[in-house]
């Protein structure tokens, strides 16, 4: 198994928004989903996850609601807002640009 990579500054927000674009989820679910989809490369600790979730919520990009979880416990579910959707598109675009640019440089040299 490759070593888990440290998340690039600022990409956590993007990952959270992208994950929530599928369906509303609680914090643990988000962490698990990111870990699974990235094949264990990206591990999000609660220490950075929850401050990020709260930050996004304060910004109004996601909203939270207490609902019953799959095992019937009360859990806080986060969902993307309209502003969040727009923000996600913008962030994906800027990520693509960045990644493309980095790839170009790497290919060139």
């Amino acid at each position: 198994m490759p070593q888990p990579t440290d998340l690039l500054q600022g990409t956590l927000d993007l990952l959270i928004l992208r994950t929530l674009a599928l369906e509303p989820m609680h914090g643990w679910g988000i962490a698990q989903r990111i870990q699974q989809v990235s094949r264990n490369v990206l591990q999000v600790g609660q220490g950075s996850l929850y401050p990020a979730l709260h930050r996004l919520e304060y910004k109004g990009w996601i909203e939270a609601d207490w609902k019953a979880s799959e095992n019937n416990r009360k859990a806080k579910y986060y969902a993307l807002t309209a502003t969040g959707k727009r923000q996600l598109e913008a962030e994906i675009e800027s990520w693509d640009r960045l990644a493309g640019a980095v790839a170009l440089v790497l290919d060139q040299i």
């Binding site: 609660q46 220490g47 929850y50 910004k59 109004g60 979880s69 416990r73 859990a75 806080k76």
Partner: protein, 880 residues
Amino acid sequence: MLKEFFTRLRFLFASKSHGEVDEELRFHLDQQIEANFRAGMSSEEARRQAAIAFGGVERTREQCWEERPGYLMETFVQDLRYALRGFRRNPTFSATVVLTLMLGIGSTTAVFSVVDRILFRSLPYGDADRLVSVGLIAPIEPQEFMLGGSYYEWQDNQKPFVSLTSESWTSPCDLTESNPARLDCARVEGNFLPTLGVSPVVGRNFTANEDRPNGPRVALITYGLWQSRFSMDPAAVGKLIRIDGNATEIVGVLPKDFEMPRLQAADVLLPQTLDVAAERRADPGHPMWAYARLKPGVSVEQAKAELEPLFDYSLRLAPAPFRKEVHLRVRSLRDRQVHEVSLAAWILLGLVLTVLLIACANVTSLLLARGASREKELAVRSALGAGRMRLLRQSLTESLTLSVAGGAAGCFFAMLLLRLFIAMAPDGMPFLGKARVDLRILIFALATSLLCAVFFAVMAGMRRADPEALTGRTRLNLRHAVLRRWLVIAQIAASVVLLAGGALLVRSFWNLEKQSLGMNAENIVTAAISLGQTSYPTPESQMAFFQRLERNLRYGPGIAAFAISDSLPPGGSHRDQVYASLQVEGKPVLASGTGGTVASRWVTPEYFRALQIPIVQGQGFTEAELTSNDHFVVLSKSLAGRLFPSQNPIGQRLHLHHGAPAASDPACVVVGIAADVKNGGLAGSEEPEYYQLRRNRAEDWDRSSVLILKTTLPPGATDAWIRSQVASLDPTAPVDIRTLSERVGKLADRSRFEMLLVGFFACTGLVLTVVGLYGVIAFFVVQRTPEIGLRMAVGASRADILRLVLANAFRLIVPGALLGLVLAAALSSVLQSLLFNVSAHDPATFAAATGLLILVALFATLIPGRSATRVNPTVALRCD
């Protein structure tokens, strides 16, 4: 965007509870445990692994809390409250910092506002940086001027300028209408306004046709006159006004901020209507002042070089002996305007920057001391979990609070100080009356104070909290102690420089006030009267007026002596001519050079008695000579010595205007030698002088004269009587009544102002320095209290302890004073031109300044020194 804002706003007021975050985190942990359990771990192991993976809960909870909008605001308010509490606990410290900042920022702002008006103000002309003043300088007139004889030659042939223009004389003129008024009329060339880049707000400039002899009479009026006489009615243009009895059409109104390039007062501009052809032939022609607009890309130096051939032409017109003393000058208009105040302005700027430096050193030193004594507190806060950023923010808040308070106090202080400056300033300081606390400067000063705050905060906040401080032992922080000592040494040095400068100016002012004027100005009332053009068109009518006035006033109550002159000593405004134009009958005139200038006055016989100027030889003017056909002259002792080195001057005949037509250069008989009188201003050099008798002949009189009355009454008692006597002859004649002492005192205004300003800054600097020194010594005593206690316990006497403190103070004072003396000696020579009869390196003055500083510094040391001797060894030792 808007929605985001509202979301933030909502959360700002309805904050989430801590419990909600806890519950969320607990859910996360439980999920992890369950997952581990499902992966086959024992329940114990699942719990353990989940807890390890999860990490610290408290930190996460804190971080979630810190993400709150308004968190920064909240901690800021918290920090602010904490800072204010701290200041209240230590009011001396906070008051000192705020006062220091107030003095520093306030005086800097006030002085910058003044200096800005003088040195850097924008002139009210279009593209004023391209304007230059052009002309000749000669011993008789140190400011550049032109003569009609060569001006037009220059105008035709000059290359470096877009245009060259001139103004000639400015003189009082009368608006003779239903509501008469005395105005100042300036005569200017037709292209005057276009060259300066000024266009009338209403109406038009003069046309070429109007600037010819006998052209149509037209005038441009100033905005002020337009406002006061025509209520800003645009229809004023085209109206006829009577100036000195002549109907003159107003063709335009000048802009509000218009001023003459020489800054003289003027209400009306008239075309100078010189006969150009006659001027070209004339020698020397009309005196005038010339200004020009440089062509693009031409520098002042280039322009001067290009004018050299024209200057040579003008030189050829001048009498051969004078040529060496005439020079060409081209300089920017701004330089011409500020020529003599600029030095004072720069010195002022230097002074205030020194004060600012001392103030900054003081604040730094105070904050360093506070930082050192709060090391323990810092360590505690750090140990309790305050992060570096958090500590930095807290110290930033503290400094910001102090600087904002200091800045605000500084603003008020600046306004106060500026008002004081304007009230104190003599008339000679141009623009000072218009100085305002400039918004830009205020912002600059506030920015400076904020910058200071950030600097201090970072200085204090960057320090890593030292856990050692928690042990409770007081230790000397060597690095800061050394820095503070250097700051105090620098302060003392700067203070010595300021004090030395102040002392030099006080000395100079003292010399100025105490010098002998050569006459007695006590109990002399003077009344300057200038008669109108229309009421008194001829010298006969002018003489008649003054002689009637003399008859009415001479034998009035308390009048001991009465004289009429055309000017008064010691001010510099009198007739001037070159020495070379004096010719003793039967002797050749001076062979080469001008021989410098000679002053002259027209006086009535009692002039010398009224002013108590001794006649040292001969008998002076007598009543009998008043009706004589001959001309009489009294020489000053220095002039007599020069003209008649080895013979008795009395009875000799003298021609006063050599080279002039014989009719206007009659032989004058020398009837007396008067003692020398100060006549070139208080600080100026004395000129040789002669007096001509005003006989009962119209040719000896002109329209402006000064009455000199020696009274036995208290000052002010005769003013109303003189005024009523003048009014009974001519109610419209303006009279300026003042005692001669007042007139003399006014001449010293300038140096009094300079002395007070420098003195003020020297005192401010001294106070700040003493505060700084006191702070360092007091801090030294506090930090060494255990050591002092120990010394006393093992037998040191109080005198020993005092000696310890004093020795420490002397290690600051002596190098500071020495450094200051060296700096003062190096810098004081810039003051030389402001000083009168005292050298810029006067040892006695320097010694006095240093002595004063050492005395005050010792006093500042004695207070903490005394408290050191009162240390109770038992208490001091138990403390640690």
